[in-house]
Each structure stands twice: as C-alpha cells, then as structure tokens.
C-alpha cells in the first residue's frame, strides 16, 4: 500500500552533491536573496518535507543547512537537473529568484551547536560502551 523510500538515497545524494561541490564551489557567487521570502518558498514548495523545517535532513533527504553543504552553482544546477530520488524543480515551478531566496534562507540558519555544549548529548558519549 505504501512504498518506503530508500534510506540510502539521501546519503548517495549527499555524496554526489559533495563531489560536485568540490569541483564548482568557487565559480559563481550566489545572487542576492531574501531569507524571509526563501523560508516561505522553502515551505510552500515542499523542500521541508524531506529536508526538515530547518534543512536538518532526515531519513529521506540529507542535511542541507548548518552549514549549507554546497556552493550556489552546485545547488542551483542540482535542483534544476536532478534525475534521482530528489525530483527536479524547474523554473516553471520555482523561479531563479525564488531559488536564490531559498539559498539565502538556508545560509541564514545558524550553525549547529557543538554537541559537547549540550549536556544531554555530551553525556551520551559514554552511554553506549563498546560491548566486550
């Protein structure tokens, strides 16, 4: 009745994006974007559904914020042309400006805290001891 998404798809995608990122990261600067508008577009067009409300990622989509793991040319090219588990977003449904706004939003999300500063997580380093 319901098809389960492939868990590994996210990690495969991440690998592909990172590989592309290293090749094109410094080619083009991102256009000016409005983070507030980008947040609205991020929610309206369903990006959050796989990547989470703060781009934190989940089972079906990799983390794309805190920090943004790719440069603008890579992100914009990928979003337009992806043929894998992530469906493409063409200009017909997400304009260049809207995509630039989304990028601005993702970059505006504060970096993740160091887990050592979170007592709950810091205490877990010793919780799962190695068996034997």
């Amino acid at each position: 009745m319901r098809k389960t998404f492939v868990f590994l798809a996210g990690s495969t995608l991440s690998v592909a994006v990172f590989a592309a990122s290293s090749a094109f990261a410094s080619q083009t600067a991102a256009p000016a974007g409005d983070a507030a508008k980008g947040k609205a577009s991020f929610e309206r067009t369903g990006c959050w559904q796989c990547h989470g409300g703060l781009g934190q990622g989940g089972r079906e989509g990799p983390r794309i914020a805190s920090p943004v793991p790719m440069a603008w040319p890579v992100l914009s090219t990928f979003v337009r042309t992806t043929r894998g588990n992530m469906p493409p977003y063409t200009e017909k449904v997400l304009s260049n400006q809207e995509l630039a706004d989304v990028y601005a939003y993702l970059r505006s999300i504060p970096p993740a805290p160091d887990f050592r500063t979170i007592p709950l997580l810091n205490g877990m380093m010793t919780t799962a001891s190695t068996q034997r």
């Binding site: 009745m1 319901r2 389960t4 089972r59 887990f115 709950l120 997580l121 810091n122 190695t130 068996q131």
Partner: protein, 653 residues
Amino acid sequence: MARKNARTEVSRRKFLAGVAMTGAATAVSVTGKGKAAVAVEAAQSPATRPSTADAQAELATHSVQAAPGTLRGRPGSDFMVDVLKSLEIDFVFSNPASSCRGIHESIVTYGGNTRPEFITCMHAESAVAMTHGYYKVAGKPAAALCHGTVGLQHAAMAVYNAWCDRAASIVMVGNRMDAATRQPGVPTIHAVQDPGSLIRDFTKWDDNPQSLQHFAESMVRAYKVTMTPPLEPVLMVLEEKLQEDAIESGGRPLVIPKLNSVAPPAGDPNAVREAARLLAKADNPVIVVDRVGRTPAGVKHLVELAEALNAPVIDQLGRMNMPNNHYLYQLGGGRLIEQADVILGLELTDFWGTVNNSDDSVEMAQVYRPKAGSRLISIGMGDLYIRANYQDFERYQQVDLAIGADAETTLPMLTEYIKQAIPADHRAKIAERGEKARKGQAQARQSMLAQAAANAWDASPVSSARLSAEVWQQIKNENWALVSRDSSLSNWPHRLWTFTQHHQFIGGPGGAGIGYGLPAAVGAAFAHRQADQRLCVNIQNDGDSMYAPGALWTAAHHKVPMLTIMWNNRAYHQEIMHLQRMANWRQRGIENPHIGTTIWDPYINYAKLAEALGHVGIGPITDPKDLAVAIKRGVDAVKMGEPVLIDVVTQPR
C-alpha cells in the same frame, strides 16, 4: 463407514447416553498438558471449576435432565477452551461477535477468564495486530477471535502484516455452515462456505473442523504450524454448532493431542562449510541481517559469528538482532556493501533491495552496488517457503550460495566451520579488522552526536533527535522496551539509545500496513507486563494511530501500562513526499501535495483523545524545552501502572 451409519440411527436419548459413556472414557483419555492442567487445578483447590472431562464423567453416573430451553450437557465451546488451556494460550484478543458467542461465554465463565483471558478489542484488525506484537515479545502465540466474514475482512490487513513479518498468530473465526440452522438475515449474511479463502494467500494453514475431536487435533496442529519457522499466522474456523451444541463425540473419547514443537532446519553441512570457506578467507566480509533474532539465542549466535570474522553487521531492524553498542554493529551501513568481497544475508526479506539501489524517479535508475567479483550468500527460510500472488518475496536476487535453513539454528555450525577454515596467515588480518572497527565505533559515535545537535535541536516543532534523546534520558535507568519501530524518526532511537536485550525491540509491521503500530504496541505491552513489568515505550505515528485509536482503550481497560509518545507530524508524511514527487515530475504546480495528505484543520488533540480513552494525556508539546518534564511525568505515571500518552508536535522526520 459402518460406524458412521450406526451413529445416524442413534436417538436423542441414546445419543445422550453415548455422550455419557464417552465422558467417562474422556476423563482418562485427555492427555498431555490438558490432563496436567486438570490435575494441578484439582490439587490446588477443592472448589475448582470442572473441566469438560469432569462433566462428561458426571454425566456417566447421573441422569441429567435439562430445564426447558436450556442446553443438555456441556457446550462444545467448553471443550474448545480446554484445548486452548492445554496450549497455554494466555490471551484471546477479540471484538465480540455473535458467531463467537459460544466460545466467548465459555472463556469468561467456564474458563474463569484466565489463560486464556478475553481481551476486549475495538477492531478485529487491532485484535490480530495485538497478537502480532504479543508474539514478538512473548515468543509464543496468542489468539485473535474474529466474527465471521466481516470480522475476518476487518482483520485481513493485520494478518498480512503478521505474514510478512514471520510472526506467529492463531486467528479464529466463527462461522455456521448449516443454512438450515442459521438465523436468517445478518447471521446468514455473515456466514461463508469457505472462511479461510479470504486470507489463505497469506496464512500458512487453515482448517474448518467439523467435530470437537477434529477441533482438538487441528488447534494443536495450528499451534505447531504457526510456531515452526518460517513462523506465519494460521486460521481456525470455529463452527458455531460445535461451539453451541452439547458435547458430542460419537461414542469415542475426546482426546487433546500433546503439543510438540518442530526442530527448525539447519543448513546442509556441506553448503554451510562452503559458506564458511568463502567468509573465512574474505578480506571484507559483510553480514546483513533482517530477522535473525527470532529468539534471544539468535542475538547471541549472531554476535559470535560476527566476532569470529570481525565482520560488520548491517542491521535492517526486522527484529532485535544484535546489541547496537557492539563494535561491529552498523545501522545503514554506508558503503560497506560496495566495498565487500563477500556479503552474507541472513533471513533477509529483500536481498535484491539490499544490494541494489533503485531510484524512485522517472528513469527508475537501478544500480547494482557490490563490486565485481563480490560473492553473495543467503541463509534463510525464504527459499523454502514461498507463495504466489502477494509479492512479499520481493525481486529475485541471484546469489552464489543459497542455503535454505533457519539462520538462527544454522549460525553455531557456521561459526564453528569458520573458525576451522580461517587460514593461519589470515588471523592477524581479522584481528586488525576488529581493532579498526573498535576505533571506528568511537569516531562514529561522536559524529552521530554531532548530527543530533545539527538535527534542529532547539526547533519547534520538535526534532526527531531531540525527542529521542529526551526520552532516553528518562528511561535509560529503567527496565525498558521499545514496542514500536523508529523509522519515522529517522531511526534516532537506534542511533542514541543502547539496545542490548532481545525484548527491547520488536521490529516493524512486516507488511507496512498502516494501523499496525498502536495495537501491536499494546499487544507487546501485554507480554511485557506478564514478563517483568517492563517500562514500555511506544513512539507512535499519528496517522497510524487514527486507524484504530480504540487500542488505547483496550490498554486502559486491561490495566496495561505503556508510555505512548505521539510522533505528531500532523500528516501522512510519506504520502506528502510521494505527492510532491508526482507534482515535480509533472511540473504543472507543486503547491498542492498537502491536499489529502495532511492532518490539519482541525489539528487532532491526541492528549484529549487519550484521556477520553482512559489514559493520562499530556500535551500537545511544541517546545522541546518542555519535553523533559512531560516525559518524566509520563514515566512516573506508567511506573504507577497508568497508560500515558504524550502528544509531541514534531518535525516531519
């Protein structure tokens, strides 16, 4: 044949006399556990409830005249209860129904409503799902009692889940075949010529006994069949006439056969030795497991196998297979499949999906993941038992060595053969693999905690990592068990918690049929209460819960404490993503996937719903800072014996 003809000539009075004689014989003919149960009961109390054997013995010496309008002698369903007692069936999960009224009355009155106890369910599907969850903790079957036709139709999805999940369950359904003795109208609408046909594609065996002796033999067989690997649900039809009419056995004693279990098959020694040879000399062996942990012994055997090779074990979470704090444990597995030279699949549901990537895209790109020359070995019951029609056998994956056997039973032999087969010059390499894995475990733990911090830690709605960490903080020092899967939380409980005991995780629904989660958790909680009063945690998908929320009432009514945490992402979230995918493929508007997939307007207040169903309701909680207090309050209430639901509004995954 002559005997049968003779029976037809027996008058009603002679028939009763025949029953009496039978009774005397039955009293000494009931064997095995049934007889033992009666004997124990008599020794414990001078005022014990009579068994059907006692009743029949009584009939042998006294002339019984029933009052007008009452039944002469014991009803057949009393004997059915004797059979259930002989099998030590603890619970009969059921939504009450007229076609089962005979055995229902026998369970609660004649049987004293203990072992089995009648558990009131609010949906036949929930009843079967409760047996499913119960089995995975108790390690033995419970029974579900369903109404004829419509009840079994309701139950069908849950039976399919149990089938796909290799879970034991004895489903019973009431039915009356004889049209001449059926009430017209609804009872006849609910009657059927072949009840088993409805679910025969996904049950291992079914029978429609036409005598009480036939019932006794078939019920014992049903128990044996459902508990023999591959474990699958079975169906028993309870003929209404047999339930409701007085016990009649045609002059022969009723005998309850002794139950004996079937030793599951181990792999062919030559094939296992070949598998050991391949694994022992491999440079990068990888073990992938789905349902190896059929019993706690499976966990132990798997650890021994993994350590013999120092091979990583990728857990697909069909069961509690391996302690997740073991240095060889892997969740997801990264690129281990791509790097492996030998891949051993143990009780995999989907070997093809394990070694292939298949994009859900327009092109449907499919990529075989293992490197050239990699060898594949499978050990499992899948090759020994396969049925047509329903496609739970998944795509065909060619392997180099297929061993049809119960993996848990085969593992000790395989491990021993591996130890014998490891070349002397390979032992240092294997030890080195182990050292590398130990070091990698600490690094992976650190990386995972960093990911947790980056998983929208302070966000509202609450993130999956934050919720999982907050729950763990409150339960880690308790005798706890997770009675739900955790895939909707991106497996954060398995990433953050420490699972070491077989009973601490029960896997998923098997068939991915929605509506399983809540009742299966309740069924598992019944077993945990029975076993050790363990603190049960059910992280519950919101959409799943609304298929049959009445399962909450069942838990409350029967005093089953459980902490349910509603993973309330206010959607059938996976379906949102499917709709989004369709919209993006079609590029004609991508803003409508929320229609038909979200649970908004109004939001459901699950805390109030739970309160109405007899739970302590807490929430809704949207701020992660409120979680610790709420969960602690919930845990405290559960420890006092209360069922609790905490409604947590969450991120999608």
